[in-house]
Symmetry: C2
Subunit: 503 residues, 2 copies
């Protein structure tokens, strides 16, 4: 017991657990255990973490869902099929793991009685395994039932325990400022903010996780990371996919809610934030929120919305958004958004921060592109006839995580011809295959590291920033599938006399 206390104190001091950390004994409760997310992401990740020893000898999974026909063995059979579909060779050892670690508690309607029964089952499981009541509740549910699930958990007393209790919520965290505030208020009615883990899976990507180390463990970058040295910063999350089977959701969401308010704005705050001190979750989120609060109100001329029309990608003709099944023939939902933000801080005043996302664009890629100011090239005029290009740092999050640094060199030979060359780094080349973002994030949850989980005030500040665009929706301009969006998007960079950097 004294030993446990020492461990807890040590953990409380360390913002992040040490290498090869192992979780304390716990039960990982998945609400919505029969759904797609559980099968594709949660179960394979938890299995993998368990195999690597990260979950310890006493990490259990308790699934629950409104499927009263299922029992422990039925759930295990379903999980076995999911693992097999994920490429796991389901041998005796895996069967044994399923039998020892997985349990299922059916619900009938998701009412209070069901949650009370869940609590009873959980307590029984913990008693049987002699566990200290450390619990994760993962809401693998449609967002419209988040409020019900949170209320029920709270009302039946499952938001607290004699150990630790953590609540994991998937995005979307609201669909506007008011709904986000409402959701947060409800969460806080039962849970402390420190118990809440809001997942934005972009933050689990290796490049994003490395961002803080990259920026602050290298003395090269910090002196360059400001208005004196940076000309512009571009954030692109481009998809080649169209709306696919998600029209029902997308017709009420659009690119701003689907990509900008969360993923792109996360990348923005990571890139623009000041140095947190110390390097721990609360200080990091303080700095990120500061960035959001420093952004000037978005001016209408700094926003371009678009919607894809019929076009070609790789020689295949693709339908326009309004021709997609489930989409209104006169839909004005944006499938493309480009927004210029101005951050009024000592570090960034005057440097355009440009966000861009879209479906059916020319290439699938997620990048942060930092273009540095040109040196005073007048000094080279007598030597170099061709123009000198600015240094550019490209941080790629998808599809091949890594970065490239473009710089100027003298080409070998007699003349002083300057050419742009690139230093190249890819995680997979340096380190081999990367862990799944979900795997990383789930381990952080069971270890209690909230660095990569979105904080309540960040969510609200982000919705607040984009609220005017949700209230007065910009006109949606057409763009052909397979392009980089409406040509008008370049107008956001017109003062720089350039267009967006083509990935």
């Amino acid at each position: 017991m004294i030993q446990n206390l020492a461990v807890l104190q040590a953990r409380a001091q360390a913002a992040v657990p040490p290498a090869n950390a192992t979780a304390e004994p716990h039960v990982f409760v998945i609400l919505g255990a029969t759904g797609d997310l559980t099968g594709r992401k949660l179960l394979p990740s938890l299995f993998s973490l368990s195999q690597e020893g990260h979950l310890g000898d006493q990490g259990f999974i308790l699934g629950t869902a409104v499927d009263a026909t299922l029992d422990d063995d039925g759930f295990r059979a379903r999980c076995r099929d999911w693992l097999a579909a994920d490429g796991v060779n389901v041998d005796d050892r895996v069967q044994q793991w399923l039998k020892e670690r997985l349990f299922y508690q059916p619900m009938r309607t998701g009412g209070t009685e069901d949650f009370r029964t869940l609590g009873t089952r959980l307590a029984a499981l913990e008693k049987g395994q002699q566990l200290p009541s450390n619990r994760v509740f993962y809401l693998a549910l449609p967002s419209d039932v988040f409020p019900i699930a949170i209320t029920q958990l709270g009302e039946v007393g499952l938001s607290k325990s004699s150990g630790w209790t953590r609540l994991v919520i998937e995005k979307p965290f609201g669909h506007d400022l008011a709904s986000a505030q409402q959701l947060n208020a409800l969460v806080h009615k039962y849970f402390d903010e420190a118990q809440v883990y809001r997942i934005d899976h972009y933050l689990g990507k290796e490049t994003v996780r490395n961002f803080l180390v990259f920026r602050f463990a290298n003395s090269l970058f910090e002196p360059l990371w400001n208005r004196d040295r940076v000309e512009r910063v571009e954030f692109t999350v481009a998809e080649t996919l169209g709306v696919e089977h998600r029209a029902g959701y997308y017709e009420h969401a659009g690119a701003l809610r689907d990509m900008v308010q969360n993923h792109l704005t996360q990348l923005l705050t990571l890139t623009a934030m000041d140095v947190p001190a110390p390097m721990e979750a609360s200080a990091i989120w303080d700095e990120k929120v500061k960035v959001l609060r420093s952004i000037l109100p978005i001016r209408p001329e700094n926003v371009v919305f678009g919607q894809y029309t019929r076009g070609q990608i790789d020689g295949t003709t693709l339908p326009g958004y309004r021709e997609e099944p489930g989409v209104a023939r006169d839909s004005t939902i944006e499938t493309f958004a480009a927004i210029r933000l101005d951050i009024a801080t000592w570090r960034w005043q005057g440097v355009p921060f440009l966000l861009r996302t879209g479906k059916r664009l020319a290439r699938r890629v997620s990048q942060v592109v930092i273009t540095f100011r040109c040196p005073p090239v007048g000094i080279f005029r007598p030597m170099v006839s061709a123009s000198i290009h600015p240094n550019v740092l490209v941080i790629t999050i998808q599809p091949d995580e890594g970065f490239d640094l473009h710089f100027e060199m003298k080409a070998p030979g007699q003349s002083v011809a300057v050419e742009t060359r690139s230093l190249h780094f890819r995680y997979s080349e340096a380190f081999g295959p990367l862990p799944e973002a979900y795997e990383t994030l789930l381990l952080d949850v069971v270890l209690g590291d909230s660095t990569l989980f979105v904080r309540d005030d960040w969510v609200e500040a982000s919705w607040k920033l984009y609220a005017p665009l949700l209230e007065n929706r910009p006109r949606v301009l057409p763009y052909a599938a397979g392009t980089w969006g409406p040509a008008e998007a370049d107008s956001l960079l017109k003062e720089l006399e350039c267009g967006w950097t083509t990935p």
Copy 2:
């Protein structure tokens, strides 16, 4: 004629000729045309430049040497053999080139009469080919006959012509301050400094030629290139060879004269110089000389001299320096020198500049290593247990020209383990085989670009800097062949609590 004037004016405005520049009609006179340097370097380089069209239709070579048995055809035959030895396929076209472009004027004693005859022959050649008396005199001679050759050229009136006349001198430019001043005074008796091209072949290396572009065409580096950001700068020119057959020279030279005063100090001034404006030869040399004049007098405790003793490289046992043929058994000549310099400028005050060279060291390598200051890593303490390493920029001049940038990354996975990784650039990978340093430099001579040729005041300032070490020679410490020199060399970095960076 008016057109020629326009060309001349354009050239005068341009410090460096444009890409694919072609030399004006000229005669390239090699004094010492039968020697090793001509056969190994000058002739192959001129041939190659000619084949690439850089020398134009009227670039001729006139060899001369104290070998009265040789005539035009004899010289051409010798040159044919040299080219063949260099790997050139000597076909009819090459034979034709030799016959059209190469001439030889024998000397009997190298006296005034010989030089007068040389002048007559030159004038006849120019008249026959209708050339405008543009002349290069290349002293491919032992340094002790430089004064005679320069005097003779001047006395017979060959230091001026109706076109341009250029004098090319190989190092060494003196063996101390007094002799360098004497040599410069003699040169200036007959030639303007603008006519003089002092060759340090290190300056023809691509990495060195790229230095100015690398530093000043990339906005990334200049903000980092100062005492606030740089902890130390190390310059290493390491050889695995011993004294070989050069004991006669080396016993009077030593490492300080052979490597430090010229090559290493060139690298130092290129690295430490301020931004020249405009980017032209005179401004560049002004800045380099400023660096030399800003270096504080060298303190005795900042110098370590060494001499190799018996040791092993790659499993082969090698004799000590004093065991080498031609070396005195009690020689106190240094085969290793390590020197710490302090540059008292706004940019560099307090940053150690460390020069190191030696024979029979562990590896053949020439590098500039710039170690940046560590970031304030205290901020990472809660996250990272292991220490954070400083960013290091390694510029390699030999054997594989290029550079590496070492930086810190988060290793993928759950913990925040920081690892050092490296961005890698090699000229040969980016651009294919590089031109020979000599080729580049010879073209610069015929084009009239003096950027890469050592200026008189630089030579004298450099000798002046090291004069105290030549007058009061430091004690020579033994080091075993195959090591990185005497262990005492690390004492130069003791305040930084580190040793030299091992290449």
